[in-house]
Symmetry: C2
Subunit: 438 residues, 2 copies
């Protein structure tokens, strides 16, 4: 016998067994159904791209984390580490074929060689949605509304979406003479929640001096209701301006749709990523603020600038599927089931499996998933198998499976019923189907 | 301005624009729905694995085509080139957590650095489904039935599934003294359709001598009905045996389910892959035999042998999504649409976009996808945009969008209706939704 190879997977990568995969698919299906209701359409791009496309101007952390290699044709290639950069390349390449504003979503896996000790995975799924080619506040708001309603559709209703406007913040920085240090200041502010106020003050002081550090912390610490906060920020930024008017309009759209209670204007929301230029936002689950944002995004003025002279502005957000699943588990809202089929047909004669399949087809044609067992073992063994697989009923056919009377075992109650018609069985096995997630 | 990076993708890789991606998703959704009706459950595995796991005993062609590299942690890794090898590793690793027979499906992308000149892609999608842990003919038949009915569910009804049994063929080879050359002979027979009879005869003669080459060609050329062919092959293999009995039983199951006309017993079906040990099959579209098999598979006695001492036999098949899509296009059965939303709400006042969204939510709550336009341009521009996006209707709200009367433009007929209630509009935009594929 040849030496065995030990079956194992790479650190940070995962297999998904049926219960986990059914849960993931159910979530993705609900997220997609929500996106589609808003008229968003799907796209897809390759997992592998030229490394220079993905790395662009380069970036320290990205370069260290990316899976990059030379392919058999000598090309310098890499696995995508997010969906934003491939989307920018996609837009630049297919601009002529797209009707603007272009509203699309992209749900796919990405790969990063991250430190797995922080509970991070090296292969994970992102759900991005974007509206490109419109600079309107209405487009900003539509993404915000979709964030709220998509999470609601998967049962996560008690959330707070925290919004800020980078342009307004930059006006404020301009006034205190720190506009040139915007990127460093934003990065320091982005770490505020994790690093704490003192460490952030120190980092800001090093960049902008102690006095300005105090002003930045005062700006980012402004609290109160949306209107009150907006008035304060507007004043700090030098009075009414297009950015404050946009926030005002977005606020009115929230009221018009009865969704205002889900949103907070929070000047400490910075987002670490450089390409955002307008509104930015993060989403927190009120019962689980500590897991961080489950859906984030913002407006970018010129996402395709690396690849094209044409300016294309847009606004989008991304749901981190793995973090969301962890949140649903923590909230007890994940009820994994192991099966789609609620019923299985027992096998009492292997030679009758054609007739069992003919009976099963009658159920399937009516939309009821139905497994056929193929081993003529003891019924108790078959009941146990059905239970292990997550089925709720075992149908026991008689002499003429597709035509005659049927018996039915209800697994959880260990209850047997006999002499049932096909229609009676169909009614029972399709009634009260349970949801796998709330 | 910085130098631009030319937006481009790798040879053999593809972007999917909305119309193409909607078509792909629609197919995958129908395929999945069919698998689920049979009680099959989904799994997933990593895109990247240890190279020794994927390459196993190694194999010339695979080794040349695989995307293999050393990751940042110094590991020898590779992108999966099919779903079968990761599935074998998955089974060996998770055997204790799986209830047998285990019926599952796996729909995912795989990567091969193939020669793209033959119209092949380097990134493509496979749809595998398998039943593991049962040696029964009923399990063989279930996979065959699923192949037939899943293709039927996506509109491909006029097919022929060609079946053979490797074990029966090996009995015949034993009788003519060629059992030891089984693998080479199978490979030569597998190329029969492409290479032609003369080239195959020459290849076989080189391996097994001219006399045996003639016998093999006679065996693989046997024609006629299922029963007649089976009788001839059984005789050539030395009389009734478990393999001929299994084929007989499978034949009876076909009759019991009224599906016999979709299947042909064809002794020239060999399948090039070494791991098949029992029944093997390929599926041809009757109108398009030249594109080759769109769904193939077979029974394997010991798929996990590389990773585990435990024997696990199974039977499965794989649908090649890209070839299937090419076939649907060739048959004129692919009618791509660019949108899920059949209706868009026109924008006549950007400040009213909150009210438009509130109106749109009323449609969405009733299951009707509805886009909201966010630019207050001329209505003719908005009608043209709706048409480009694939929408069929534009809803024109009045002064009180969510409460008042609505006007409706039907795009294709350039027909306008006014003074409609919400319910009237809902009826119109949800009636007679068209299918994207037959």
């Amino acid at each position: 016998m040849a030496d065995l190879i030990e079956p194992r997977i790479l650190k940070g990568f995962r297999d998904f067994l049926p219960a986990a995969e059914i849960g993931r698919r159910s979530l993705v299906e609900k997220i997609e159904a929500s996106f589609r209701l808003y008229g968003f359409v799907p796209i897809d791009t390759p997992a592998l791209e030229y490394a220079d496309i993905l790395l662009g101007k380069g970036g320290g952390e990205t370069e260290r984390q990316i899976y990059r290699f030379t392919d058999n044709g000598g090309r310098d290639v890499a696995l995508r580490f997010d969906l934003t950069v491939p989307f920018a390349r996609f837009l630049a390449e297919h601009r002529a074929d797209l009707a603007l504003p272009f509203k699309c979503y992209h749900i796919a896996k990405v790969w990063r060689g991250e430190n797995t000790q922080r509970g991070r995975y090296r292969e994970f799924t992102q759900c991005d949605f974007d509206c490109v080619g419109s600079d309107s506040a209405a487009a900003d708001f539509e993404i915000l509304l979709m964030m709220r309603n998509t999470l609601s559709a998967i049962g996560v209703k008690d959330i707070t979406i925290r919004i800020n406007h980078r342009g307004l913040f930059n006006r404020f920085l301009d006034r205190i003479g720190c506009r040139g240090k915007s990127a460093e200041i934003l990065r320091a502010v982005d770490k505020l929640a994790k690093a704490g106020r003192d460490a952030t003050r120190a980092a800001l002081a090093e960049t902008a001096g102690a006095e300005n550090a105090a002003k930045v912390l005062a700006y980012t610490g402004a609290g109160g209701g949306f209107g009150e906060t907006l008035a304060g920020l507007t004043e700090a930024a030098g009075g009414p301006c297009p950015e404050s008017e946009r926030l005002s309009l977005i606020r009115r759209f929230m009221e018009d749709t009865g969704t205002a209670s889900s949103f907070v204007l929070d000047p400490s929301i910075a987002r670490g990523l450089d390409y955002y230029t307008g509104v930015v936002y993060e989403t927190f689950i009120n019962e689980l603020p500590e897991i961080g944002s489950v859906c984030s995004g913002g407006r970018y003025d010129n996402l395709v600038g690396l690849y094209s002279k044409e300016k294309l502005s847009g606004v989008g957000a991304s749901i981190g599927l793995d973090r969301l699943i962890a949140a649903l588990e923590a909230l007890g809202k994940s009820r994994p089931r192991g099966a789609y089929a609620r019923a299985a047909i027992a096998c009492t004669d292997e030679g009758a499996c054609g007739a069992y399949q003919a009976l099963a087809e009658k159920f399937r044609e009516r939309g009821a998933a139905c497994e056929v067992f193929t081993e003529a073992k003891k019924l108790t063994w078959q009941f146990a198998l059905a239970e292990k697989k997550g089925a709720e009923f075992v149908i026991i056919p008689g002499e003429a499976p597709a035509a005659g009377k049927l018996a039915l075992r209800e697994i959880s109650g260990r209850q047997d019923r006999e002499n049932l018609d096909f229609e009676e069985v169909l009614d029972i096995i399709t009634q009260g189907a349970r949801e796998d997630t709330v």
